[in-house]
Symmetry: C2
Amino acid sequence: LQNRTIVRFIARTMPRAPSSVAPGSPEPPAGRPVPKGRQTKAAIVDAALNLASQMGLEGLSIGALAELTQMSKSGVFAHFGSREELQISVIRAYHQRFEEEVFFPALQAARGLPRLRALFANWMQRVAVEIQSGCIFISGAAEFDDRPGPVRDALVGSVKSWLAALDKAVTQAKQEGDLRADADARQMAFEIHGLILALHYEERFLHNPGSLHRAEAGFEHVLERYGNPDAVASTVPSDVRPRARVSTPSRPSRSKE
Amino acid sequence: LQNRTIVRFIARTMPRAPSSVAPGSPEPPAGRPVPKGRQTKAAIVDAALNLASQMGLEGLSIGALAELTQMSKSGVFAHFGSREELQISVIRAYHQRFEEEVFFPALQAARGLPRLRALFANWMQRVAVEIQSGCIFISGAAEFDDRPGPVRDALVGSVKSWLAALDKAVTQAKQEGDLRADADARQMAFEIHGLILALHYEERFLHNPGSLHRAEAGFEHVLERYGNPDAVASTVPSDVRPRARVSTPSRPSRSKE
């Protein structure tokens, strides 16, 4: 029942196939139309991505996609050899969208701390959307964590390539002198990843207000630990106000409750 | 197919109902035997908890439980009015096990930083087990994050009561003077929660080696930020070696790649 409600909700808010190209698809070169079959496939993948964000990759069904795209089940199935291939296409589409929204725009920022800040800010923006819609990097991890196979491999590969990009940005920030020479890139990326996961969990699942601000404050704390203070201070966004440090209080005697 | 493989695996490794009491069940008072019906129900819940850890709460089925406990389907069903009630019983059982393994033993440690450290150490131990078995607090969040109803409510209530206990331990550590007076309990608990989530994600899903050590190091970093240095240093476990701080390097000119 709930599955069908979501399918209808998504159907009301998305463009129809095959007359429209999916929003994430590349623009066709001028004067050279994209073949109709490829347009249709892109539209199905886009619908599948919307559905998977809400229902999980395991929630994907040919029937629901046929309803969403107003195609026949056999018409949908003809574009994918198997449900597994459909799931992998969705992971690739998500990966591409993630790169376009989070990774590529951050390359415009100067190498070092500005770029690392941009990566985190773009990631936060992506998660803020996914607090409503769900995230297949997170729900997919829970679905496939102990299920070996090509879907799991595609998902792990996608997440790992993103975390490797984050590691690289940290390493570059070290090379630029923005971070301390002993900063451990993998450790720092791990702590940042934790903030994103806590944000998604506490805001989307627990509905704890203030999680967005907590993730931002947590990121500043990570930078305070690993950063060159001048670089951190000179790149702090205007909407993040680090709290003033106060002196450590004297310790009262320890009691046991 | 995979579902049945897991059911058989769990069946081989667990005690049989109704002759045995589930490991998490309270000891019967001496001389007053526990009614057989209650024993059976406890054994079913225990089998269901094992199954749900691996398959998710949505992976629970009366059929699989009947196979696991070697009972009839109607026999299993008689103990629960609905599948939803079975799921809620599993959440309650998990909550009880979590309290017994993580929360109650930490109350033996002195109030303040020693207790906060004990809570984290016990939590880490629980997660280390769940890297193999799965965790219904995490997989359940992905399953029920946008599905209102009594199962979601039970799961959210359970997680929130645990996070509230963590907040309280932080607040007590502040009162004891172990943490800085301006330490924000909710912020600190959020950052700790992130480390646990990153550990589960990176170790269980990505199979990244070293995640356990990274979560431990991250916890020390959180304490470095919020703690009274004397209290942090005097309570550091012998197996955690904080890295020496080195001087900040001079910054080379910024290049753009």
